[in-house]
Amino acid sequence: MSAREAILSRIRRASGAADPQAVAARLAGGQKAPVPAQGRAEGEARVAQFIAKARAADATVSRLASADDLPGALADELRARNLPAAIRTGADPLFDRDWGGIERSIGTGRLEEPATLSRAQMAMAETGTLLLASGPDNPVTLTFLGETHFVVLAAKDIHAGFEDMWAAWRARGLDPRTVNLVTGPSRSADIGQTLQLGAHGPVALHVFVVG
């Protein structure tokens, strides 16, 4: 008997009769768990909550009227942070624009990446969390190798909490290798139990909310 068969038959012996209907119902979304009030914000309050929660998690956030403002806003941010005028992005068509004085390169993350730019598919106001999905145009390594990570997010893609975000996610029918929920820049308290930003991932996270 294979390990698989042995394990499964031990489980079936120990737990008695399973309930396939209950399993099917649960997998079909039949079970509703409590949704906290902080995961139910609507309208402009939702955007405001997303921004407040992201800032509470040590991200910085700015709002742009349109994606056309991106090159100028990014140039300002790079200058203010004393970073070189260069950005690493994926091949996302959103980033096919005139970057002015910023040198844009396309590809995956490398050993040294002072600044990277990604696109968030969605976000949720519940905890100020971004959702990034890997794909041909969206290298997952840009999210973790950039010392400063910039993310563009459309305001209309901010959901209230997990429940409506997952519903919207299923509706898009995507099946990426990796889905990253990101809330603030990386951190660790492993040295002297003191929280420090910038563990292995970005030291800083900036979100451009568009619209």
Partner: protein
């Protein structure tokens, strides 16, 4: 101590050493207050917290009642996404599966995100013995790997290491750097670890991570981290191996959300960790990065034997560490004293289940039964009740030391005869009150040094409970 040779049987000796170790005591003192206060604040900020705990408990009970069905469904989804599922009955089986994958990948180096299952299986030592370098990348795990130690806390593995000790370790290990460099600041230590490990990420052929959850609906494995090392460990190497125990299953994305809502709040007091990553299968066609192979090792290692027993509820555990953060015993002795991978109250229940009551039977005795572990457990696991079950089993198997057995026998005689109990407690209360000489506490007690060596014994203040009760009636 290593995963394969637990020092749990010499628990009492371990405890004495921990109590005498100033570094451990200083580190524990700082850390515990932080964890407890942060969890309390997080809970207070979420009015629905206890309702969500109930939902999380019910969800895991449902999964455990239907575990085989969910595992089959999960396996189907992983396979459909191009991944491979390997079933491991024992830690030894898991070791061989990992090595086999590494050999096929021609791996010289394996990068590891934090994984308690890999600790349980002793993967690092096993790979080293077979010529594969296992590199820990979680900052805490990296520090203890340099020190050749095991984690002393499941979410803060290097909690017992002081800052000067980290500096000394880095100077010893990072010999390629300028010996005159300034490492007096914590920020400098962190930056150094970051840059040293950054290079290692690009060198490894295989990355191993754990899994906080496995989602049956989607076939995704989920890791919850703050550092980003688990993500670099799975995104840069050619092969990604997930090591998970089989009870980590949740049915749907919504169920994962229910667990996530209580997990970080109970662990670090965060609403959510910085990174929550859902992975399924290898990179998709056209993807510029991500692993080309995806393997999941489903480990049993004694867990299916807990199903249908009084220890089944332990399988709801989501490894947040709240029980140990709030445990007066853990707070005093730290994690290493427990002698194996899982410390604190959850370890006291899980260790005898996984390595046997013969080796792990002393741990459930290390409890004051104050009940804080159960009170803070996000999955509402009745830890004290299960420790009591283990004590009974230890007694039944005649593993309890003879002095303790004699004491229990004497106690039984007194406790089952109310007149004897009344007489003894009244006499003891009077004697102790007089001996305290009005101070209300005793600094030493004959035959009670196990207590008074470490703290004062509170002296009885008046009559016994029974005589007061009679007076009230």
């Amino acid at each position: 101590m290593s995963a394969m040779s637990p020092t749990t049987p010499r628990f009492k000796q371990n405890v004495r050493e921990a109590l005498a170790n100033r570094n451990i005591q200083a580190a524990l003192g700082n850390a515990q207050a932080g964890f407890v206060a942060k969890r309390a604040a997080a809970r207070a900020a979420l009015p629905e917290f206890d309702d969500i705990r109930d939902a999380a408990r019910d969800l895991k009970n449902h999964v455990l009642a239907n575990l085989a069905d969910y595992l089959e469904r999960y396996e189907e989804k992983v396979t459909a996404a191009g991944g491979h599922v390997h079933w491991a009955e024992t830690a030894g089986d898991a070791q061989r599966i990992v090595l086999d994958i590494c050999r096929k990948a021609g791996a010289k180096t394996v990068n590891k995100g934090k994984s308690m299952i890999s600790e349980e299986c002793g993967i690092n030592d096993f790979l080293e013995e077979h010529g594969v370098r296992a590199q820990e990348t979680d900052l805490g795990e990296y520090i203890i790997q340099l020190r050749h130690e095991a984690p002393s806390h499941i979410i803060a593995p290097a909690i017992h290491v002081t800052v000067p000790e980290v500096e000394a370790e880095f100077r010893k290990a990072h010999t390629h750097l300028d010996p005159g460099r300034n490492l007096s600041e914590k920020a400098g230590l962190m930056a150094e670890a970051r840059s040293v490990l950054r290079e290692k990420y690009f060198a490894a052929e295989v990355g191993i991570t754990g899994a906080n959850m496995l989602i049956a609906e989607t076939g995704q494995s989920v890791i919850v981290t703050n550092e980003g090392n688990g993500d670099l460990s799975q995104s840069l190497p050619r092969v990604h191996i997930v090591m998970a125990s089989l009870e980590k299953i949740v049915p749907t994305l919504e169920d994962a959300a229910t667990v996530l809502r209580v997990l970080a709040r109970s662990a670090t007091g965060q609403e959510i960790t910085v990174y929550t990553t859902f992975s399924s299968g290898p990179r998709r066609e056209g993807d510029p990065d991500g692993p080309e192979e995806y393997h999941v090792i489903l480990l049993d290692n004694g867990r299916t034997n807990m199903l249908g027993t009084e220890f089944q509820e332990m399988l709801r555990c989501i490894r947040c560490g709240a029980c140990m953060n709030h445990c007066p015993v853990y707070q005093s002795v730290g994690g290493h004293a427990y002698g194996w991978v899982y410390p604190g109250p959850m370890g006291a229940v899980l260790t005898p289940s996984l390595i046997g009551v013969e080796k792990g039977g002393q741990l459930p005795n290390a409890s004051t039964f104050c009940g804080r572990c159960e009170a803070v457990c996000p999955m509402r696991i009745p830890l004290p009740k299960m420790m009591r079950h283990w004590r009974e089993r230890e007694f039944e198997k005649n593993l309890t030391p003879s002095a303790a057995r004699c004491g229990l026998a004497a106690w039984r005689i007194v406790a089952t005869r109310p007149w004897a109990y009344r007489l003894m407690t009244a006499a003891a209360a009077r004697v102790l009150r007089i001996a305290a000489m009005g101070k209300g506490r005793l600094a030493s007690l004959p035959m009670g040094r196990g207590w008074t060596d470490y703290r004062n014994f509170p002296a009885p203040q008046g009559r016994t409970f029974q005589s007061q009760w009679r007076g009230e009636q």
